[in-house]
Symmetry: C2
Subunit: 185 residues, 2 copies
């Protein structure tokens, strides 16, 4: 029978790491959560070394996610994609900032070509990034894929501010640990 639905789960430990009652005010607190999601994901063997989270302009956590590509048999299930999906379904909108408000995605590593494209449509106003693409490619077997030459400019021209190198060393440390010891997710 042809599939008529798709179901994806987030890791069962998610709420041990992501605290819905807390306010994540600074860029560093937000990326620190994304990095902690990436670290826990490899420690628990629930996916690849990537985490992401969506916040509103009060610092409230709307959704948190980690990479689930291999456990869920889904090449789409990158951390950023799952964070966007979960946040949009929670707020019942296909564009997070459609009704106003400002939304931020924090991610442990620079979005790949797929998550770059998803960021264009998701309705976020800001993208906060830990490790760079070259860190991912240096420290793991992952490829970031082909991006537009001026990918930051493309986002900024669409109203999405980009800030990089936030806790970059901490993000790199998780990638390095994964690259040395992890299962190859």
């Amino acid at each position: 029978m042809l599939p008529i639905q798709v179901h994806l789960t987030l890791p069962p430990w998610l709420e041990e790491v992501a605290d819905e009652k807390r306010r994540y005010h600074s860029d560093e607190e937000r990326v620190a959560l994304a990095i902690e999601l990436s670290r826990r994901n490899i420690a628990q063997g629930t996916g690849g070394p990537f985490g992401a989270a969506v916040f509103d302009d009060q610092g409230r956590l709307i959704a948190a996610a980690a990479n689930r590509v291999v456990p869920q048999s889904c090449s789409i299930a990158h951390a950023e994609i799952l964070a966007y999906m979960a946040a949009q379904q929670r707020l019942s909108t296909h564009r997070l900032n459609e009704q106003g408000g400002r939304y931020t995605l924090a991610t442990s590593s620079q979005p790949c070509c797929q998550c770059f494209g998803a960021t264009v449509w998701a309705g976020v106003d800001e993208l906060l990034i830990g490790a760079r693409a070259e860190d991912v490619e240096e420290l793991t077997e992952f490829d970031e894929g082909p991006l537009p030459a001026d990918w930051i400019g493309e986002l900024e021209r669409r109203g999405i501010a980009v800030r990089r190198d936030i806790l970059r060393d901490e993000a790199r440390a998780v990638l390095a640990e994964y690259g040395q010891t992890g299962p190859k997710y």
Copy 2:
């Protein structure tokens, strides 16, 4: 409570259009199905004017999908993405051609920036396209987003053959109908 799962449904009429018992041998038959999915999707009001399907090298239909962005509150839920997800979950693999075999995505319109990126990771060997990006932008309010300058070359260098303009007029006709009369999904 933070979301711990994501659930997406395909349109309820899917199996009226997509025939799992049939073999879709030619490129034209495959894109014709994608276009018929796009047409039915706007006729039924179940999403935007885009359809896509995954086939194996025997012409068997693995998964069929249509755009579900607005009904499912999900900017990720483009037809191509849902076709990849459904096919991968059906075959229990995060990369369709990982165990061998050749897989094809047929889509009614050129993939946007998000679906271009997803195509890099999905494990397809071939991409068949009906309408061009400029048709989408001419005939509807949709934006295709920023792509690498040589997006076809980027795919082909990764082993993904690209063939365009298959039944382009038929694909354009659905876009034109949507642009003139459709709800703005």
